[in-house]
Amino acid sequence: MKTPTKGPVFLRFLIVSLFVFYMLLPIVATYLFSLATRWDRSIMPEGYTWEAYQTAFNLSYFRITLKNSLILSIASCLVSFIIIVPTVYLTQINFRKFRPLLDLLMIIPFAIPTVVLALSYVRVYTFQPITRSPFLLIMATVVYTMPFMYRSVSNSVDAVDISVLTEASQSLGGDLWNTLTKVIMPNIYPGILSGMLLVFATVFADFTLAKLITGAHFKTFPMLLVEQTQIDGNVAAALSVISFTLAWGISMVLLWFSSKASKSKKAQPSDKAYIGK
């Protein structure tokens, strides 16, 4: 029987194609621009060269900014993980009535403009050694990306009956540490990974917080990229491609871990099979 809501095949194909085109166009254009010799007089580039990449790799700040961004992103992921996972777990188990409050708090980073958040941190943390340090930047990026981590983890927690799993673990002698690490975390692993993925990608691409909090003290990859847009567009495009490829590669690794963690579910056998055994 035909499903009336499906609509004509051509229309469905067109909608999906437009979406894919819309999403891929800027990426493909950036890739092509990073390889183009000249691309202002024709529809397609006039020629292709690796020169922009050679220039990008040879930039004096290339390695240090890349390293800084990686450190910042990984540290933000770890801090988010350490703060969010136990908080969500304990809220669910012991302080369930505070869950709406926590949900509300997690909207705040979306509501506050990044500039305001950055300047607030700079104004409040004026004492050494925190002021304008990478630690302060990590604190800010963790708050900024907290909703991503929180949402992913809390959705996973909601999908698993962690109260019963916790009680089962406790009845078998499991303490909080063993319950959390051996029972709960392996079951919310996909949520933790996707949360960390979002945090990593967001922090790696962040310009505003880094620029306003640490500035030149702790130069990050997006700061170098913005700098290059004013000097050489092709090099800036090459840096974008490098940034994008790196984030994509890390995403793939995390997704691979995630898919490995979630076991393929097989059809549940019938109880009839074992009656009378």
């Binding site: 009845s171 078998l172 076991k263 549940q268 109880d271």
Partner: protein, 349 residues
């Protein structure tokens, strides 16, 4: 001497009593069921024994030790949950080994012990499977094996069969009883299924509205209910509301019911006379020489139940339920006479 004692336990949730003045002694190696309708406090009591809830007042003693304030992971009390609560990330064997590892069992003894309990529940071939690859009944048997592996001082079962098919329930409750009897493990079994409680237990605790209504053997609970709630909750009972009339009868608006059990009450006391359906004989003719109660009526409903047939007999103001042998044939609207002995009639306030 009691092995597990619950002394004057009370628990409130948001000022609503969940359990009030609960007193119970459980002997070692016995299976005691908590039976009652939803919200009567049976699961809350079980959770207090497990340590997942703390009593507002009262003491829980296990083998002479006050365990009221000991955290659940230090009580060594095994629990089987309604939803199985197997760890989805672990294989069956790892699920069972988890508790043994938490109890710091020697490494070379863990797997043999886990396999031993798997044998006990007759599921040795599932050791390397994940919970989602097992049926509900198999999962519950693994949950039982996991709880038994740690050799708990008390085994708690929280409606373990309620998520299963009727056929599996009957098989599995027999399994639970077999294992419990073999291991002589003190067990508390929570259920709202009266048939399950009566068939599996050494003693039954009937609960209602946060209180214990009656504690007794399944036979005592069924044959000698102490309250009207127990009489009507366990099995089916025909009830006649009336007042005590003399030492041997209850006078309701319509009938005078002869009974040998009214002597405990004073003349005129408001009471209920209760008769079980299986205590009632149904005749298609007016029986002679019967020393008891005979009432005339018309067959209103007929429910064939295999070995027996349940009849609903309209006797005027009331429909009486009676169980007759399945081979007896009655038809709708047929004029019949119901008879029951004066000893079969229980009188309760």
């Amino acid at each position: 001497m009691a092995y597990l004692t619950l002394a004057d336990i009370s628990k409130n949730f948001n000022k609503n009593p969940a359990v009030e003045h609960f007193n119970l002694d459980v002997e070692k190696g016995k299976l005691v069921s908590f039976l009652g309708p939803s919200g009567c406090g049976k699961t809350t009591t079980l959770r207090m024994i497990a340590g997942f809830e703390t009593p507002d007042s009262g003491v829980i003693e296990l083998d002479g030790e006050d365990i009221s304030n000991i955290p659940p992971n230090k009580r060594n009390i095994g629990m089987v949950f309604q939803s199985y609560a197997l760890f989805p990330n672990m294989t069956v064997l790892d699920n069972i080994c988890f508790g043994l590892r938490m109890h710091k069992m020697l490494k070379n003894q863990i797997v043999p012990k886990a396999r031993e309990v798997l044998d006990l529940v007759r599921l040795s071939d599932t050791a390397n499977r994940y919970p989602n690859q097992l049926s509900g009944g198999q999962q519950q048997r693994i949950a039982l094996a996991r709880a038994l592996a740690i050799e708990p001082r008390v085994l708690l079962l929280d409606e373990p069969l309620s998520a299963l098919d009727a056929e599996v329930r009957v098989v599995l409750r027999g399994e639970i009883r077999r294992i419990q009897t073999n291991l002589k493990i003190t067990t508390i079994y929570v259920t709202h299924d009266q048939e399950e409680a009566l068939s599996i237990s050494d003693r039954v605790v009937v609960m209602n509205k946060a209180h214990i209504e009656q504690v007794g053997t399944p036979q005592e609970i069924y044959r000698e209910p102490k309250t009207k709630f127990v009489a009507t909750f366990i099995g089916t009972a025909n009830e006649f509301h009336g007042s005590v009339c003399g030492k041997d009868s209850v006078k309701s608006a319509e009938f005078l019911i002869k009974t040998n059990n009214a002597s405990l009450f004073a003349d005129g006391d408001e009471v209920f006379a209760l008769v079980r359906p299986e205590k009632i004989d149904v005749y298609s003719y007016k029986p002679e020489n019967i020393d008891g109660n005979v009432l005339e009526g018309l067959v209103d409903t007929i429910t064939f139940r295999g070995a027996e047939t349940r009849l609903g007999i309209d006797i005027g103001e009331k429909v009486i339920t009676a169980d007759v042998p399945g081979k007896d044939v009655f038809s709708y609207g047929q004029r019949v006479w119901v008879a029951f002995d004066s000893n079969a009639c229980q009188v309760l306030k």
